[in-house]
Symmetry: C2
Subunit: 376 residues, 2 copies
């Protein structure tokens, strides 16, 4: 069984579950650190083990281009290449290819694009991104979809979703007709689109669930729309999605976004914010956000965040971390990344505990009041 809901909140749509991927039991809600190019940036797998990370996200577009999925296949798949035993979800690469704008050409067959690295020409189809993800050997495979540009007219959104649903159908067929390469079971997730239009989203979800996938993502959000619009579209989507399948909100978001989405029934998250912002010197803490470059931290002897159980959070002062950033030391990137991941994991794990104890909404309010009040 891929997914079990263990407990559903009585005051909201929030739920605590367990995702089982090749024997790895992953409590949900879960946050998946982003490991685009075969590593989570600036942290070793040993730090991730210590933080009990059980699933990370990899990226088909990046890995296909560099080192090449054929290289990774030679090493026995992405898990072996990275020396990473826990689970991996790979994004299909659609999002990256559609970000290329002028460097891509779209057809019903797929999308032709130019590499951002060397300008070489490539082609992604619903079928070959499955083949690539078979080569990578990820535990969860995402379908190729078109991330509808924002803002879009209803007409544009309909047209875009017609293409994506055609691709979703073909993905399911190709997935069924192909096999894992390394004896590791692979699961296929589809991605709901439909821009900010309720009816297009609902219609899309109906078609997608009729095809039938192992799990369902919500895509095309956090693309510039107001937070309230995003929450509304999540609400519309989780209201319609099957209760017994995992729900994954792609690429979202801030601690506030994640807690709202958990309340609306989301099980899985990924986002570059904790890792990317860490490298810019921004820490997420239980007391709010901290910008390490701020001079007020020059003599700050207190640890980053004693609430968070990680070496980086507890055993270095803010003043020392600030020094590392000002001096351009790589260790600053490492420690800030470790802390921010630890914080995001703490956030979703605490959310899960509070769902189980029936206190989710109260805790969310309490946490956010404290987090936002101290946010400078």
């Amino acid at each position: 069984m891929l997914f079990n809901v263990v407990h559903s909140d009585t005051n909201s749509r929030a739920r605590a579950g367990v995702l089982n991927l090749n024997g790895i039991e992953i409590p949900t809600p879960v946050f998946m650190p982003v490991g685009t190019q075969g590593t989570v940036k600036a942290v070793s797998r040993r730090i991730l083990h210590e933080l009990r990370v059980q699933i990370i996200l990899g990226n088909t577009y990046h890995l296909y281009l560099r080192p090449g999925s054929y290289v990774i296949e030679q090493f026995g798949g992405l898990h072996k290449f990275m020396n990473w035993d826990p689970a991996i979800l790979t994004d299909s690469g659609g999002y990256q290819v559609f970000s290329l704008k002028d460097l891509r050409k779209l057809s019903v067959g797929g999308v032709e694009f130019q590499s951002h690295i060397d300008g070489s020409r490539h082609f992604f189809s619903p079928e070959n991104v499955i083949d690539i993800q078979r080569e990578l050997g990820s535990d969860i495979i995402m379908v190729l979809d078109e991330c509808t540009p924002y803002p879009a007219t209803p007409g544009e959104a309909v047209k875009s979703t017609e293409l994506s649903i055609n691709w979703a159908e073909r993905s399911k067929i190709h997935f069924s007709e192909s096999e894992p390469h390394y004896g590791r079971k692979q699961f296929l997730f589809a991605i709901g689109q439909g821009s900010m239009f309720e009816d297009i989203r609902e219609n899309y979800i109906e078609k997608m669930t009729n095809i039938g996938f192992d799990g369902y993502a919500i895509g095309g959000l956090s693309v510039g729309e107001p937070a309230e619009t995003m929450y509304h579209i999540i609400d519309v989507s989780t209201n319609k999605l099957p209760i017994d399948k995992p729900r994954y909100l792609m690429g979202v978001g801030t601690p506030e976004n994640i807690l709202e989405a958990i309340e609306l029934g989301i099980d899985m998250f990924d986002c570059v914010l904790p890792t990317r912002n860490a490298r810019n010197g921004q820490l997420f803490t239980t007391r709010g956000k901290i910008n390490l470059r701020n001079a007020v931290y020059k003599l700050a002897k207190e640890p980053v965040d004693e609430t968070i159980n990680s070496d980086a959070s507890r055993n270095y002062s803010l003043g020392y971390l600030r020094h590392l950033f000002i001096a351009g030391e790589i260790l600053g990137l490492q420690l800030a990344t470790e802390h921010n991941i630890a914080f995001y994991l703490w956030l979703v794990r605490t959310a899960r505990q509070k769902i189980l104890s029936g206190e989710y909404r109260q805790w969310k309010k309490f946490f956010l009041d404290n987090y936002q009040n101290n946010d400078k």
Copy 2:
């Protein structure tokens, strides 16, 4: 007792000893990883603990300018600031100031210089670099000296060493008249100079040992002279230096240099090579040097170096490390640095074992034959 020679080789001047710094027992020969700005670049203290690093080098010039020794004093010294319990040796900053060339003005009193960071003006004297190192709280304090430019005429070398010996005298006086700040005992090392001239070197050593220091460094080498010249000056120096005091060869060098210098009776080393070259993708291994950017490693499944007991050396393939470098991933810098430090430590630790078992020269030949034959 700061230093004990445990065993002297009968076939060479090599010796195995123990350096005792504030209760930390450090077997010698020892290699001290360079941690210029309050961290060894790209590795956490936990990796260093795992590699059993017991002493690192910090830099007075860099720490005085950034974050400022007064900042570090507020944190209770450099050990506390970095959260580093083992020993620290701090270089006096002389080498860095004299590298500034056009930005410095030398007098008998000391040296005025401009910060490489913001151009601000500062002054180092033999006395105030002791004060700064008292503030930093390093276990071993180095005197301020002038690193004689290379090449130098005998006249230039004499003039330069007269200044340095004057500074060494004043350093001893000021050290004796000042106290440690944090209850940690501090030791003072002088630095032998004299360019590539035997008699000037010997004369300098005589004056320096007459003043009397806790240990003696050999400076002004690895500045562009041929390796044979360097070995000759080391030979001349260790022949003259007292047997019962630790001998530290500053800023040297390659694995070959280190093994030669051990044979000539050196106990302590520091060098940026393992850490700096790691960040350029060059690995030191028991099979020779490896440039990770070389395309031959694209599909290389073998680990970096199974002889070396570190996670980075044994648990990742060369192909994966190469990918991390090509993709510009920070983890590549981390793993390469960890491995290179582990290799340098393995080198001096193995040297020590072979000194103790009376096989040093045979082992050195065997190791270097293998190391250099495979060096591409």
